[in-house]
Amino acid sequence: MKMKKASVFLLSAYASAGLILFNACKSPDKGSTAANDSTATAIKPTTSSAGLTVPSGFSAVVLAEKLKGPRHLAVTPQGDIYVKQSEDNGDGIVVLHDDGGKATVKSHFGNYGGTGIAIKNGYLYATSNSDIYRYKLDDKNQVINPATPETVVSGLTNKRMHNSKSIVLDNDGNIYVNIGAYSNICEEYDKDKKGCPVLNDAAGIWQFKADKLNQKQSDGVKYATGLRNVVGLDWNQQDNQLFVMQHGRDALHDLFPSLYSTKQSADLPSECMYALKKGDDAGWPYVYYDWIQKKLMQGPEYGGDGKKEADAKYLRPAMGYPGHFAPDGLLFYTGSQFPEKYKNGAFIAFHGSWNRAPEPQEGYCVVFQPFKDGKSDGQYEIFADGFAGPKKTPDGALHRPCGLAQGPDGSIYVTDDQGGSLYKISYKK
């Protein structure tokens, strides 16, 4: 690892090049609308609703409060909402029922924290930071035996950093799980630059059989590699393909002050949306995506200098977003309640940045990414904003969006793992 030089660099003041709309979820706007890059536009006019700003015609309500670190969630056709919480001791999963405008708690179970949860083919799947469990559902999609889940996979790599396990299932009996890199940029594991060993047991998406019990990590297939950490992911039913959101690396300036200013280090690298196929390599830790130059760049740890482009063998993102926004939720909208343009597009929950300091923190919002024919199409739009409240910092934010799900009536749900709220956003003509 290239150690930070002891010489201390005075912080330069950089003027922000971009606009800031609504003092929030906004990136520097370079005025470009290139095919696979995205800059935000605000949908006007907006309305204020449950402390959030949402596009005109939409309304938000707080369905529940004081949940215990709600992460991802899954909703049944009957209006039950399974929320994966960060708590153990019987609070791993809380079950709510949406009574229209407010939710009542039906039950809670599970002695493990974690992030991932999904419903498919009569089972509820949920993850701790190292295991995948499943619960059989009855014909009303209620868990039959909450105290006795089956173990689908156990012992997944869990070395503290980036250890949350997000899951999604395809239509062919497979479950996909993110195993995040237990490192920022592999510097401590690849000092001789001989190849990053973290890629062997982490930094990728693994595929397992959804109906086979007691699997180990070695029983799975490393479906895609070179992904630093994925929290938001979803199965695109139009493309029948896995889409994931990668959290990009941190500390370009801190580690390479002569190559990157603090402003560049805040904006770079891109948070990336990838459309994955089996065998893809997104290039972490060797490369990163620069959404401003629209280029895949060689990482400075591996001979890059901020200008050198990466080997073209690595997968290019389907779309690039500004640095450190922290995409924790991804949802392809298949409902009919929202206006036509939302159909088959993607909602992304940006948890909000911490690694942009001393620049202002950004994110803390839900955006909409238009899609056309299964491909991301043009600029993303701020969809729901104002989660943070007056202080847009990781410790000062009142709420931070995390998980996304679609309800049976076509409304969408957003969890907030900071304040413990569950939002429902609906549209009325």
């Binding site: 250890n163 237990y182 401590e188 941190d250 801190d254 911490w354 910092t393």
Partner: protein
């Protein structure tokens, strides 16, 4: 040669102590100002301008014995980094801290003094001599 070293080493140590005493006389203000520059350059990106850290990821530097307690332990964290599964005030933090052995003794003393006296903290200063001592022990321990 060996005798010369034995002579020079205590002398150097004495001079360092004098220098450190002079620093103290020259005022906490100067130390704090220098410490703040180091903090902004090295620590702020993760621990934030307020020292509050980032929930679940980067630990806070306020209201914790890791900062306010044993100075040698604190110096070691800066020298060696930190990657242990610990809870701080009931919260766990998952990010790995990078080691910073390239900081000079003076920079480390300045920044740790700054951290121990900022964000509402009111602990004693860390001296250059204290950093030097811990670093020497650290090197002997093969770190």
């Amino acid at each position: 040669m060996k005798r010369l070293f034995l002579l020079i080493f205590p002398l150097a140590f004495f001079m360092a102590t004098v220098a450190s005493a002079q620093t103290r006389r020259s005022g906490t203000e100067a130390v704090m100002a220098r410490g703040q520059i180091v903090y902004k350059s090295v620590c702020l990106a993760c621990h934030m301008a307020t020292g509050a850290g980032v929930p679940h990821l980067n630990p806070p530097l306020v209201n914790t014995t890791y900062v306010l307690g044993d100075k040698a332990a604190l110096i070691k964290i800066v020298l060696n980094g930190f990657n242990e599964d610990v809870k701080i005030n009931g919260q766990s933090y998952s990010n790995t801290m990078t080691p910073h052995p390239d900081l000079t003794d003076r920079q480390m003393a300045d920044v740790l003094t700054y951290v121990r006296k900022s964000f509402g903290n009111k602990a004693s200063a860390v001296t250059v001599a204290e950093v030097k001592k811990v670093r020497a022990r650290n090197l002997r321990a093969g770190k």
